[in-house]
Symmetry: C2
Subunit: 377 residues, 2 copies
Amino acid sequence: MKIALLGHGTVGRGVDNIIAHHVPQVEVKRILELPKFCTEPRMTPNFDDIVNDPEIELVVECMGGLEPAHTFICRAMDAGKSVVTSNKAVVAEFFAEFAQKSVSNNVGFFLEASVGGGIPWIASIAKVRRIDEVSSFSGIMNGTTNYIIDSMAKEDLDFDVALGRAQELGYAERDPSADIDGIDVRNKTIISASVAFDVACTKDLPVTGIRTMTKQDMIMFNQNGRQVKLLGRGVQRDGRYAVAVEPVALSAHSMEAAVPSNFNLVSLEGTTIGDLKFYGQGAGSLSTGNAIVQDVIDCANGIRPQFDFSRGLKYDPTLLTSSYVFRTTAEGPSDATLYGRGAWVVPHLTAVEARALFEDVLKQDPTAFMAALSRED
Amino acid sequence: MKIALLGHGTVGRGVDNIIAHHVPQVEVKRILELPKFCTEPRMTPNFDDIVNDPEIELVVECMGGLEPAHTFICRAMDAGKSVVTSNKAVVAEFFAEFAQKSVSNNVGFFLEASVGGGIPWIASIAKVRRIDEVSSFSGIMNGTTNYIIDSMAKEDLDFDVALGRAQELGYAERDPSADIDGIDVRNKTIISASVAFDVACTKDLPVTGIRTMTKQDMIMFNQNGRQVKLLGRGVQRDGRYAVAVEPVALSAHSMEAAVPSNFNLVSLEGTTIGDLKFYGQGAGSLSTGNAIVQDVIDCANGIRPQFDFSRGLKYDPTLLTSSYVFRTTAEGPSDATLYGRGAWVVPHLTAVEARALFEDVLKQDPTAFMAALSRED
């Protein structure tokens, strides 16, 4: 099978390299690159050379960003080519359009590398769905924030020091907002919900990050037998679904609490299979490249994943409720009770209500922190 | 696709049921049963009715035991039929023969349900191997012993009380030897090593269970920041491999230490993918039935797993070395040092040497307990 790569950065080069050494049945025929980086005959700065080449059956998009990635993915599928992408931003924004094009053009749309790096998460959801409905999923989907939390917990670091170390190690960007404000997890949660529930998941989910988390917050939760992790979560029931991204204070004995460094742990619950959890490197060029090549091999083996979001699941925030702890100098509502020093807890809020309350609190106290309390059975 | 079930016990009925409700492309045409249980037209007590039926493309063996399961699997493959089995004992004993027959008859041999229940472990190893070598694997592969250990740790129970409770809950057999002496894990380790390393794995691996573990042993390891789990492990390097089954004292902060109740956690390390871990129900009719049906669907989709053990990996126990703790009244060798009350530790033993030393110790002190110390980086 002949394929084309869009982009030849770290991930693209990794994919090129793995295919050359390990996948003899696949040939990288063309590579889209900027004119100044076109250093070998396979490279072209012109997408037309790829989309108009009938020999190319599969286009691997590893450019990142919304445009021109979105346009190139659509044009490739309209030209009858399957697409592999690792670009979570473009999938979260345009999944409904890509899903429709995968069906109408009868091509495969592969996105394993967009969530959970090298963890076979998307393929596992799809496999479980051959038999079960997925009733819920949840996960540590961002390695950077897990590294920050883990360093704060194990080495007693302040947030800013842990963030600085993550930046030194290349885990966090110079502008870390996408990680610490939960935007990256939001994109991965949208994609996971779309695959798990067959729904064009809303982009208007409640999203709270860990930007204001302090060492004292961690100590307070630890004293209550809990460890905070930033989770993306989704549930579905009776034709309705809900999703959220927020810090969750989990049992210190949970599997999630034990996830070290920049690793990811993603979980699902299926109707007959019960709980399944998957752990691995959530990012990095090797694991992302590996996930892309797994998709390429599946495509070479004739597999053509398609997505159909026509079942019309309704968004219903009441499916996702918790008690929420707010550490703040602001005053709580009338049903708030004391949780710890300078912190109060409100029972039975939806994630949407909790986010709205947190936004009010932040107006009075921009240093405030909020976390959901997981139910401990 | 038309298939036959060998056996209609709990698992067989579950498979029948899941296929009827969720897999319209598959029909269970015949079911092998004892004459007295043949209560419907699909059932027959005669295997010839199945093996001679050219419409039946796949035989699902869920009888258990070595014979006649072994003979029936061979006859089905020789008749050009693919085979799905959940029978770890028969696979561990005859994998080399089954592997050879899968290749020579060009049929699929599916064994997902034989290890890790509903965890997609065998399929994940096979997928990783499309790109990577698996350099090592390890795992909590027996839910019964994990339940016993977890109950001892969390509820402060004695071994016998925890075992009794596991028996009440149906997790442990009336004769629990296969679980607590590590035989079940031995079979699963042999199968995992065979798939991960492409080797007809030796049955002469060192096997130690948890039969003699006491609450005091757990406390001693806890005081050293460790939690004991019964692990199956394998490593390969430079054309050689080693495997072992033994209690391992892991960091109390490890993912393995956090595995609750009767769950399993299996891990592998691939050359480019790094660490992957998979968690779920390791046993039970629903999860085992689910794993069998996943294999059936793969077969209906044209997938035909085959195994080729001809690369001739050599068994080399020096690949698997640890420090080992012995809690015993017997005296240690000259390089033993104190580990805790009534316990000494010996550095740098192979698993085979440790097992030999433990057998000597048991002759003097049948209540002795041994555990490997995991390396903590």
